[in-house]
């Protein structure tokens, strides 16, 4: 049985245009496919990954065009629905940014920062990204 890992993702939108995804969410998805058992916590600016309907136009330079620009909300949905990776979002960080619960993709779980230490105790490994 795989060790349970809680992944707190705080660094956000770092190279997502060039990578066409978030490197940590991608890593968790790939590791889950290899048998890992992950949970993701979005905190800080990363809570915005769970906001539905976001997106950026692909980069275009003259005749060169990016055709697969990232959609972070879809990647969060993919984690939850396809990878079966629970995604938690820190309530206080949403509130600090004026993001309402109704703006988030379905399936995310809200958690208070105050409850996070207790949640950590349920895991074998805690990684802060």
């Amino acid at each position: 049985m795989a060790k349970k890992t809680l992944n707190i993702v705080e660094s956000a939108y770092r190279a997502v245009m060039e990578e066409q995804d978030d490197t940590i969410l991608w890593l968790l998805a790939a590791m889950q496919g290899a048998g890992a058992e992950h949970t993701a916590v979005l905190r800080g600016n990363a809570v915005n990954y769970a906001v539905a309907g976001q997106g950026a136009p692909g980069l275009t330079i003259g005749g060169w065009q990016q055709t697969q620009a990232p959609r972070m909300d879809n990647d969060v949905i993919d984690l939850i629905q396809k990878r079966k990776i629970p995604v938690l979002v820190i309530e206080e960080d949403l509130a600090a940014r004026g993001i309402e619960r109704g703006e988030l993709v379905p399936g995310v779980e809200l958690i208070s920062a105050k409850m996070l230490p207790k949640r950590m105790a349920e895991y074998d490994i805690v990684s802060h990204w």
Partner: protein, 135 residues
């Protein structure tokens, strides 16, 4: 609009931050308007034009290499030079030679090997200077 000359210093390596995407959007706008651009690719940015960058499939996305169409910064550099030429401007892309040596990325698709002295020359010869540094 009169043609201007801009010196631009880049410092971030590919695939590590959003700075380069922002930089390429600005550089593309400069090139589109026919301005001359003098780029000093310093530190990690000296790998932007590295010829052996390769797009890859993405199994997590469920896409093969063609479907993923993964961006490479070397293609963006080539596209920038082509756009500038088409629009009547010119790009002088200089890769910091010592930075290139440190990283083993001396095989570039475009640009030339240079030194901080080139950036000094660029600054002296430009109407304005934009520095996008690593933070």
């Amino acid at each position: 609009m009169s043609q201007k000359t801009f010196a631009v210093a880049l410092m971030d390596p590919p695939y590590e931050s959003e700075n380069l995407t922002t930089a390429f959007r600005i550089l593309g706008a400069m090139a589109q308007r026919g301005h001359n651009i003098k780029v000093f690719a310093y530190e990690g940015a000296s790998a932007l034009a590295f010829a052996r960058q390769a797009p890859h499939p993405n199994p997590v996305h469920g896409k093969n290499a063609a479907e993923e169409n993964h961006p490479t910064t070397k293609d963006q550099v080539v596209a920038l030079l082509a756009l500038a030429e088409k629009s009547g401007g010119m790009v002088d892309w200089v890769n910091c030679g010592m930075c290139v040596d440190e990283r083993g990325v001396g095989d570039f698709v475009a640009g030339r090997r240079g030194s901080p002295a080139d950036f000094h020359t660029f600054c002296e010869a430009s109407d304005n200077v934009l520095t996008i540094s690593t933070k």
